[in-house]
C-alpha cells in the first residue's frame, strides 16, 4: 500500500482486500472483553478536523485508541485556523509536534493532497470537500461483504454484486469513493439521480447511470442512499424537497420492489422523511447502525496498515 490514503483510486484490488481482511481479523476483537491492542503504542495520530463531523472524528478516535495510539484532536473551531492560519502552517505545526499520521477532514476538495505534500507522516483523507471519503467506501464495502457473503469472509471481492447509489452524486465524496472502490472490487455500480445532481462526463466513470430509481430497485443487491442537502433546492438542482422525496426517496413501497436479500445503506447523517423513510431506516434491511460499528473496525485496519503496526494480532486463532 501507499503511504497515504487519499483516494479510493490509490487502492488496488489486492490493497482493498488486504484492508477488508485485516478488518475482519480486527472485528473478532470487538467480542473480547478487552478491546485494546498494543500495536500502535507510542505512535501519534492527529485528527485534523476543519469541518464539524463528530461521528467521523470519534470513529477515527476510537480506531486509533483501540490500537493504543496517542490521539490528538485538532478542531479548526476556536483554534489558530479560526484566526487565519493557513493549512500549510497548521501542517508544519503538527509536523513539529511529531505526528505519525494525520487524519484530515476539510471542506476543500484536494486538501488531503496538499497536506500530504507538507508533512512526513501518513495522511488519511477523512473527507475532502466534494472529492472523496475513502474510509467510508471501505467500511461500506466491508459492510456489504459481511451482509451478503457472511461474517468472517476473507479474500473475496464483491464480484457481480449490484449496487445502486442514489441521490446527490455531484456533491458527494461518498459516492465518488464508492464508485471507485466498489468497481475495483468487482461490483456493478449504478448511479440513480436527477440529471442535475450527476457530474458532467459521469458516463466515463466505471459505473452506469439512471434517472429512474424504480427501474433499478428490482435488480439491486444494495441500495445506498445519499444525504440530500436542503440548500441544493435554492440552487435549482430540484424544485422542492417533496418532489425530490417523491422521485428519489426510499420509502416502504419502494423498498418492497427490492429483492428479498437486498440491503439498504446510508452513510449518515440521515434526513428521515427526505431521502429515506423512517420505516426503511429502521427495517431489518438497513445496515446503518452496522456501518457505524464497521467504521471503527475498518479505520483500525487502515491505520494499522499505513503505520505498519507491530505485533499483528493473532486474534483469529
Amino acid at each position: 500500500m501507499k503511504r497515504h490514503l487519499i483516494s479510493a483510486a490509490d487502492l488496488s484490488r489486492a490493497d482493498a482486500l488486504l484492508i477488508l481482511d485485516t478488518a475482519e481479523e480486527l472485528a473478532s476483537l470487538a467480542d473480547r472483553p478487552i478491546k485494546k491492542l498494543p500495536t500502535l503504542r507510542g505512535r501519534t495520530v492527529v485528527n485534523l478536523f476543519f469541518e464539524d463531523s463528530t461521528r467521523t472524528r470519534i470513529s477515527f478516535e476510537a480506531a486509533a485508541k483501540r490500537l493504543s495510539a496517542d490521539v490528538i484532536n485538532f478542531s479548526a473551531k476556536g483554534s489558530s485556523v479560526g484566526k487565519g492560519e493557513s493549512l500549510k502552517d497548521t501542517a508544519l505545526t503538527l509536523e513539529a509536534m511529531g505526528s505519525d499520521a494525520v487524519v484530515i477532514r476539510h471542506s476543500a476538495s484536494g486538501a488531503a493532497h496538499r497536506l500530504a505534500g507538507w508533512v512526513q507522516g501518513s495522511v488519511v483523507n477523512a473527507g475532502d470537500g466534494t472529492h472523496e471519503h475513502p474510509t467510508q467506501a471501505l467500511l461500506d464495502a466491508f459492510t456489504i461483504r459481511r451482509r451478503l457473503k457472511g461474517n468472517g469472509t476473507r479474500g473475496a471481492g464483491l464480484d457481480g454484486i449490484r449496487v445502486t447509489i442514489v441521490g446527490d452524486v455531484l456533491h458527494s465524496r461518498v459516492a465518488r469513493s464508492n464508485v471507485l472502490l466498489l468497481s475495483t472490487l468487482g461490483a456493478e455500480v449504478t448511479l440513480a439521480a436527477p440529471p442535475t445532481l450527476l457530474p458532467l462526463a459521469v458516463e466515463n466513470w466505471p459505473c452506469s447511470v439512471s434517472y429512474d430509481l424504480d427501474c433499478e430497485l428490482p435488480k439491486s443487491d444494495v441500495v445506498m442512499m445519499l444525504r440530500v442537502q436542503q440548500e441544493r433546492m435554492t440552487a435549482a438542482y430540484f424544485p422542492s424537497v417533496r418532489e425530490y422525496s417523491r422521485r428519489y426517496g426510499l420509502d416502504a413501497a419502494r423498498m418492497g420492489r427490492l429483492p428479498d436479500h437486498a440491503i439498504v445503506m446510508h452513510p449518515g447523517p440521515m434526513n428521515r422523511g427526505v431521502e429515506i423513510a423512517a420505516d426503511v431506516a429502521d427495517s431489518v434491511r438497513s445496515t446503518i447502525v452496522e456501518q457505524v460499528a464497521n467504521g471503527v473496525t475498518t479505520r483500525m485496519a487502515v491505520l494499522y496498515l499505513l503505520l505498519g503496526g507491530t505485533e499483528f494480532p493473532a486474534v483469529a486463532q
Partner: protein
Amino acid sequence: MNPAGLPDPAIPDPARAPWLIKGVTVTRSGGQREEFTDILLSDGVIAAIGPGLSNPGAHVLDAQGLIALPGLVDLHTHLREPGREDAETVETGTRAAALGGYTAVHAMANTDPVADTAGVVEQVWRLGRAAGHCDVQPVGAVTVGLAGSRLAELGTMADSAARVRVFSDDGNCVADPLLMRRALEYVKAFDGVIAQHAQEPRLTEGAQLNEGEMSSRLGLAGWPAVAEEAIIARDCLLAAHVGSALHVCHVSTAGSVEIIRWAKSKGWRVTAEVTPHHLLLTDELAAGYDPVFKVNPPLRTAADVAELRRALADGTIDCVATDHAPHPVEAKETEWSEAAFGMTGLETALRVVQLAMVDTGMLDWCGVADRMSVRPARIGRLAGHGALPAVGGPANLTLYDPAASAEVVGPGASKSRNTPFAGMELPGRVVATFLRGAPTVLDGKLA
C-alpha cells in the same frame, strides 16, 4: 511618444550611441526575409538594413543565428501597482516584460485603487516611463470600481496623458448586457475598444476548474465552456448592432473560436487573444490540486488547445496576450479553492509560442511577429510599436535565439513565482531587447 515612434525629446536618452546588429535574420516590412544581414539602430529609429553595414562609433552585437522580431506587445498584463506591490510593481513587471522580449505592455485596470479615473491611469503611465524597461500603456476600467453597475469616465481617461484606448473590467465580466452595449457605443467617439473578460457570472459561481471529466473526478466546481461562449456570442451581436470594436480576452474554448470565426466572417469588428498557457496546458494538470495551475479562464482540454492553436495560426485569434498575473507565494500555497487565479507569463511567452506554434509548424516567425507585435499594437491603438523592421521605423526590436533550449528555473525578474512552466524544458532564448534604439536587455540580462 509621438505617433511616428520617435523618442520624446523631453526624455533624455542615456544610450544615444548607435547599435549595429550583425548577421541577423529578419523579415522586413513588406514580407521579404533576409538572412545574415545587419541592422543599424540610431537616434531611436532603424537607420539602415542590409548586409555589410559599418558604423565606427556604434556598439556591435553579433547576432548570428538570431532572429530579429519587432518588439513584442502585450495586450494583457497585470502589473499590480498600485495596491499589490507585494505581488508585482511596474518596475519589476516591466523588467520581466523586457526579458521576455516585450517593448510595450498594456497594464490591466484591476489594481487597488482601480484604474477607473484619469488620476490612476496617469500614475501607472508615469511609473512606466520612470521605469523605462518598456512602454506601459494603461487599460482603463469599463465600470466604476469594476463593479459592473455604472460606466467609469472613459472619455476622461482617453483624453488624459495616458491616452487610454483599451477599456476592460478584466477579472470581472461586464455581465449587464445594457451596460456592455453602452460601453461599446460610447468608446466609438475616441476610437476605443472594449476588451471583455467573457464569463457569465451565474454559470460560474464558485467555479474552480474547467467543467468536464477532471472537475467531476476531482470534486471541484465546474467552470463550463458555455459560460465563456454565451458572453462572447452576445457581445459579438452587440458589437455588430452598434458597429463598435470588441476585443475578446483570453479565449479558452473551441466553441469560442467557432463563434469568433463566425463573427469575423460577417465583417464585424471583433478581435481576440489567447494566452500562452492556453496554447500548451490542459486541465489534466489539476490532478495534484497544485494551484499553480489555477487560472481564469481555466485550463481546458487537449481538444480546446488544438483548436486554439489552429485559430491562432489561421488568424481567427488575432494575437497572443500573456494575462501575466503575479501572486505572492501565500496566495498559491493553499487549498485549491482558496488559491488565487492566475499565472505569470511575460518571461516565458515567446518560448511557449515557439514550442506550441513554431516547432509544430503551425506558424512561421513572420506569423509570430504578426501575432505578438503587429496585431496587438494595432488592437491597442498603440503608435510606435508593432511595425515590422523598416528603415526609418521605430527601433523596437527583439533578438531571439530559436536554437537555444533551457529548463524554466525561478525566480525570474517578476516579483512572483507562480509560473506553471517551472521545471519544463522550453525552446528559445530572448537575447536582446531594444526600446527606441536603446537596449533594455543584452545577452539575456537587463541592460
